[in-house]
């Protein structure tokens, strides 16, 4: 990686494989030390924004900081995802439609199912004598939830992981147009199957949905399903594995949680702040703007680093310290404002249930070295391999 020279030439390629645990945090801190917004020349050039106040201000102002050119660098507007890569009013219509599947009432109704899935996965993991927590628990959890939440078949969700991994490869040389096509084909097959055998689930309701008073188009249905497929599993998988890793890294925090499982909620929030699973989201300016005292021209790309903002010492004292007892409220791990994650109530419930389940078992410990990914798609940080086991009770 290049060394820091001045605020106009800070190298930050979101797809750099070296941006992983723990180097990525040093990189964010180095950017922060240069100011709220620094110019990165990489990938057609963009402003990297790392201060809490500046990131939140931009998220609050979608009229100036548009999502319509995409949430990834470079903001070339290709392959726009629904609803995240749209501005109002279309964004509002898409979001309302999708939010039905994820409302707090819906999540409350799903709770018994979620608890059952969590218990079964952890039971199987314990019965197997431990193993790779990512493939045994963190990945199957959100995939199984997607079958219930959306109405995907088990065979369909089984293909999400491979297809998603291939999608990210776009940003490191391989062209994944092919995997994109396969994902869309898979979604079309699900729609056809639901047309042939109508069911009372979200997929079924999507067949007859309306957008701004007209029938929804098939490409929109496919786009919405593809978002659930990718956004619905990647983030939760990374969050779940990170939670388990933190338990092992911080035995004192694990002991405190085991003694008092009501701490699970605060533990999850501090994980989201300290190791935000979805780290960087792009916007494009629709007019000249000021970010962190810097003049940003109309049409410039900005990369809002939620992960760096959540470690801004101006907002969270001693930010690099993982402290489940701190007040993590106001963290930006789910974003802020009109695009704020509609999966947050679901993700929070899944993660709290998982943590409570783990805390009810014998102590969890490492069974080998963990492997971290680099930022996937310039955004997602997580573990690809996490060998763990429950200690033998004596």
């Amino acid at each position: 990686m290049s060394t820091v020279a001045d605020p106009t030439g800070f190298g930050f390629d979101p797809y750099d494989p070296e941006l992983t645990e723990p180097a990525v945090w040093n990189r964010y801190r180095a950017a922060q030390n240069l100011g709220g917004a620094v110019r990165a020349p990489d990938r057609d050039g963009f402003w990297l924004v790392t201060s809490y106040d500046e990131v939140r201000t931009a998220l609050r102002d979608p009229a100036t900081f548009s999502s319509a050119s995409g949430h990834r660098i470079p903001t070339d507007g290709s392959r726009r995802a629904i609803p995240i890569d749209f501005d109002p009013p279309l964004h509002t219509a898409y979001r309302a439609l999708m939010a039905e599947a994820l409302s707090p009432a819906r999540v409350r109704a799903l709770r018994p199912f979620l608890a059952e899935v969590v218990t079964r996965l952890v039971d199987d993991f314990a019965a197997a004598g431990g193993g790779d927590f990512v493939s045994a628990v963190a990945l199957p959890l959100p995939l199984q939830v997607l079958t219930e939440l959306v109405g995907f078949s088990g065979e369909t969700v089984a293909q999400f992981r491979t297809l998603t991994e291939e999608l990210w490869s776009r940003y490191v040389d391989v062209d994944p147009a092919e995997s994109h096509r396969r994902l869309w084909e898979l979604m079309r097959a699900e729609l056809a199957d639901h047309r042939a055998r109508p069911r009372d689930d979200f997929l079924g309701s999507l067949l007859h949905a309306e957008i701004e008073g007209r029938p929804i188009r098939e490409d929109e249905q496919v786009g919405i399903l593809a978002t659930f497929a990718v956004a619905g599993h990647e983030t939760t998988m990374n969050a779940a594995a990170t939670l388990a890793w933190l338990l092992v890294e911080h035995p004192e925090a694990q002991a405190a949680l085991r003694a008092d499982p009501t701490r699970a909620r605060a533990f999850v929030e501090e994980m989201l702040r300290h190791r935000s699973p979805a780290q960087n989201f792009a916007r494009r300016t629709t007019c000249p703007a000021r970010v962190g005292g810097t003049a940003v021209a109309e049409g410039d790309a900005v990369l809002l680093s939620l992960a760096a903002a959540n470690r801004d010492p101006e907002r969270f004292p001693d930010p690099d310290r993982f402290d489940p007892d701190r007040d993590a409220r106001g963290h930006l791990a789910f974003g802020w404002g009109i695009h704020q994650c509609i999966g947050a109530p679901l993700a929070r419930t899944e993660l709290v249930l998982l943590l409570e389940e783990l805390a009810a078992r014998p102590p969890l410990c490492a069974a080998g070295p963990p492997v971290w990914s680099s930022l996937q798609g310039g955004n997602h940080l997580g573990l690809t391999h996490l060998p763990l086991l429950f200690e033998e009770e004596t």
């Binding site: 609050r60 707090p104 106001g330 802020w336 404002g337 947050a344 109530p345």
Partner: protein
């Protein structure tokens, strides 16, 4: 007098309102839905509740007056 209403069916428990106006809003621990603290809002909360309403991703907060 400032009057605040929370649409409980729209609220998604994001808690943004708590960050903007911690004296006015709180979340039910069981449902995760926002509610107004007793005796709130007061006149001093005027600006803070407006910020809370603007920050609510679910547009669940209405402010009058």
């Amino acid at each position: 007098m400032t009057d605040v209403e929370i649409d409980e069916t729209a609220c998604c428990g994001y808690g943004n309102c708590l960050v903007a106006a911690p004296e006015v809003f709180d979340l039910h621990t069981d449902t995760g839905i926002a509610f107004l603290r007793p005796g709130r809002p007061r006149e001093v909360d005027r600006l803070a509740v407006r910020e809370a309403a603007a920050d609510c991703p679910a547009r669940a907060i209405t402010v009058r007056g």
